[in-house]
């Protein structure tokens, strides 16, 4: 067992062997989830609390299902509606929950670094389900698993990440994960949606989709996060779609067997052509959702194992 971490806060602290350990374990849960009896008792007796300070449907459902399939008692807390409105600080909320003796805490928060802060104050294992623009590690892991299964390997691939990189935690975690596994990563987007200093991340940067997609193995589209925009990053949706939306013409520059990915939820006609998203020969978007449950089961399995070892010691 090489996975020694107490929390899963980001891809940054993980070694390539950690990533492989999670993906290998996840493979077994893909099989379990496809069988008639989707249930394991691995986390029986353990309590998992999902704390979402930011709206989420799919990620929260995925974590909930993952916990339930492993036999944990799962509780969902919609934090916007709760004590945060009454002025309680994040740390006080964390201490309150900590006193309820949870074993796994799944947290999403709109501020970068907030999940790290919370993890310092609790005794259980914390899984980052997305913090601000910082990291979304389980998304990067499920993307990695999807690529590995579709391409047969997770190294020496040419992978393009396209769209709103600046506001995307998915992009950051994916850049870290994919470069750690020794792939060539290209970022494609208008300069207003690329963060400063991105050239120092060991990636290639393109502002033109046709150029950037040349001969890539994987095309990873990002959601254009309009709700995060102060306004004025792009001139209009239709110009964005024309220049950066993925359609058959742009995709023709990629390798003929290139796969198309999207973390969802999709804006059809804004960043991706609807027909393309549904093309079962190219799109692996539904596989990503399936791998999401498996990867989260694997991460919770490994963290729970470490938690038990630490408690026994």
């Amino acid at each position: 067992m090489s996975f020694r971490h107490r929390h899963l806060l980001g891809i940054e602290p993980l070694a390539p062997t950690d990533i492989s350990a999670i993906l290998d374990r996840a493979e077994t849960y893909v099989d379990l989830s496809r069988s008639d009896s989707k249930h394991s008792d691995l986390l029986a007796g353990m309590t998992q609390i999902n704390m979402f300070f930011e709206n989420s449907t799919r990620t929260q459902a995925s974590f909930e299902l993952a916990g339930k399939r492993l036999g944990a008692d799962v509780m969902n807390m919609a934090m916007q509606a709760s004590s945060i409105k009454k002025g309680e600080t994040l740390i006080d909320t964390a201490l309150t929950l900590n006193a309820m003796q949870p074993d796994l805490l799944v947290v999403r928060h709109p501020n970068s670094g907030a999940v790290d802060l919370l993890a310092q104050k609790v005794h259980c294992a914390v899984l980052n389900a997305g913090d601000g623009r910082h990291e979304h590690p389980t998304q990067a892991l499920l993307d990695a698993l999807t690529i590995r299964r579709a391409k047969g390997r997770l190294h020496r691939l040419s992978i393009a990440i396209c769209g709103d990189i600046a506001h995307s935690r998915v992009a950051r975690s994916n850049i870290l994960a994919l470069t750690k596994m020794e792939n060539r990563v290209r970022l494609i987007g208008p300069p207003t949606l690329l963060p400063a200093g991105i050239g120092e991340f060991g990636v290639e940067v393109f502002h033109d989709m046709h150029e950037g997609l040349e001969d890539v193995d994987v095309v990873m589209m990002l959601r254009l996060q309009r709700e995060r925009m102060d306004g004025g990053f792009i001139p209009s949706e239709r110009e964005y779609y024309h220049r950066y939306g993925l359609d058959a013409d742009k995709l023709s520059r990629a390798k003929s067997d290139a796969i198309v990915m999207h973390p969802g939820p999709m804006n059809r006609g804004v960043e991706i052509d609807g027909t393309l998203a549904d093309d079962i020969n190219r799109s692996v978007i539904q596989d990503q959702v399936e791998m999401g449950v498996a990867v989260r089961m694997a991460a919770m399995d490994l963290l729970a194992h470490n938690l038990r070892e630490r408690r026994a010691a």
């Binding site: 501020n111 907030a114 790290d116 910082h134 991105i198 102060d230």
Partner: protein, 420 residues
């Protein structure tokens, strides 16, 4: 009043630029000619220098006395070798009328063991729309006018305030971070901010703000001081303005001289400052500018914050750090690192800020006030923030290994810190 005779001292004289072993006499609260003395103080070869004149100290009276009072700030200053605190008006309410200024002056006189010289707001409520009563405030003792970290965005308002201040001979202190570009940012743009996913501002915002203010100074001829220059990009503009005879000086903060953006590490909010910490290249350029004299003044930018306002996600946490007590040992890093000698450092810590404010302190010359600090430049220690005199303990130097201990502080010839 007793007369003092300091013997066996390593005298750091920033005015002469000298570092020599010698003696110093003090009488009637001032440095005097050699003579007889009631009391001898053997300095044992340690450094005796003018007390630090610190422009831009935040004392949280009125409004937030639980964060810092004149008594606690005075103790912290004395422990840090700061003999004159030039205090900021960004209190609650802001110091923008002669009445609030008088309250502050009274509180300071009653409680602070070091000199306190208050600054007043440049515009009412620091709102950037109407100028304050600059003349009355000067009569009441305001030594400079500043809206602190609020930038007066309306250039018409600022040009009028500068013109009026010029007619009064008032010094205006500006914060030059262009507010549009800086909006929402809590880090400097670059690799670190992108890695941590923090909203960031380009260092160019600082040059833009400086360029604007220099143009207004050309127009109005006002006396002007930049609170903090923290980037390499702003330095050529400052140099040109000085070369063109504009009445401009500039300061920087001790934190921007000794820390960089990567020190924030895992979202450590005690490192959240305004302006944010910069890249190492910027830090080195600013250190070089202090050594060359292009940047005139080093300040602590002492900003007390309670634990609650720092125990938050980085974006939401309050900015600022306490620094009265850590200013001297942090500044010693510049000497031990070989960037400058002690007289050059002290030029930026005492004589330059004093001169800019028209004070006769900050020197070792006969007749100057006996505001002095005796310190061991080499003594090592590890800082424990809970041992600080400040009510607030928000220092980025917690647990840091530092060198440079204050052994004694004198204000107008009276000992305010150290064993007698």
């Amino acid at each position: 009043m007793t007369t003092l005779h300091f013997t066996n001292a390593r005298l750091i004289d920033p005015e002469q630029g000298t570092d020599t072993v010698g003696e110093l006499w003090v009488s009637e609260g001032r440095i005097c000619a050699p003579g007889t003395a009631d009391k001898q103080i053997d300095c044992r070869g340690k450094c005796l220098a003018p007390g630090i004149v610190d422009i831009g100290v935040k004392v949280c009276e009125p409004g937030d006395r639980h964060k810092e009072s004149y008594a606690s700030a005075g103790r912290a200053a004395a422990a840090g070798g700061v003999t004159t605190m030039v205090t900021r008006p960004d209190t609650n309410p802001p110091i923008d009328t002669p009445e609030t200024l008088e309250f502050v002056t009274r509180r300071a006189q009653a409680d602070s063991v070091v000199h306190v010289l208050p600054m007043a707001a440049l515009t009412k409520g620091r709102a950037g729309t109407e100028m304050t009563e600059i003349g009355f405030l000067m009569d009441a003792g305001a030594v400079a006018f500043t809206d602190c970290d609020h930038v007066v965005t309306d250039t018409k308002v600022l040009s009028r305030a500068l013109t009026y201040a010029k007619s009064c001979g008032a010094l205006v202190i500006g914060h030059i971070q262009e507010p549009g570009l800086s909006k929402g940012a809590c880090a400097s743009s670059g690799k670190f901010a992108s890695l941590r996913g923090l909203p960031a501002v380009s260092p160019m915002a600082e040059r833009m703000g400086l360029d604007r203010d220099i143009a207004l100074l050309e127009m109005t001829g006002a006396r002007y001081h930049v609170d903090q220059i923290t980037t390499a990009r702003a330095l050529p503009a400052l140099e040109r303005a000085k070369g063109n005879g504009i009445d401009i000086t500039a300061g920087t903060s001790i934190h921007h001289l000794t820390l960089n953006a990567f020190d924030v590490a895992d979202y450590r909010t005690f490192f959240k400052l305004k302006p944010p910490l910069r890249d190492e290249d910027d830090r080195l350029a600013v250190v070089e500018a202090v050594a060359s004299g292009l940047i005139d003044v080093i300040s602590s930018m002492h900003t007390p914050q309670d634990e609650e306002s720092k125990r938050l996600p980085f974006e939401e946490a309050a900015a600022g750090a306490v620094a009265l007590e850590t200013l001297l040992p942090a500044a010693m890093r510049l000497v031990h690192g070989g960037y400058m000698d002690l007289p050059t450092l002290w030029r930026a810590l005492s004589v330059n800020p004093a001169r800019r404010l028209g004070l006769d302190t900050g020197r070792l010359t006969e007749g100057a006030p006996a505001d002095l600090v005796l310190f061991d430049p080499d003594a090592p220690f590890q800082l424990n923030r809970f041992n600080l005199q400040s009510k607030s303990k928000n220092t980025p130097f917690d647990d840091a290994r530092m060198q440079g201990k204050v052994l004694g502080t004198w204000v107008s010839g009276a000992r305010v810190f150290g064993d007698t």
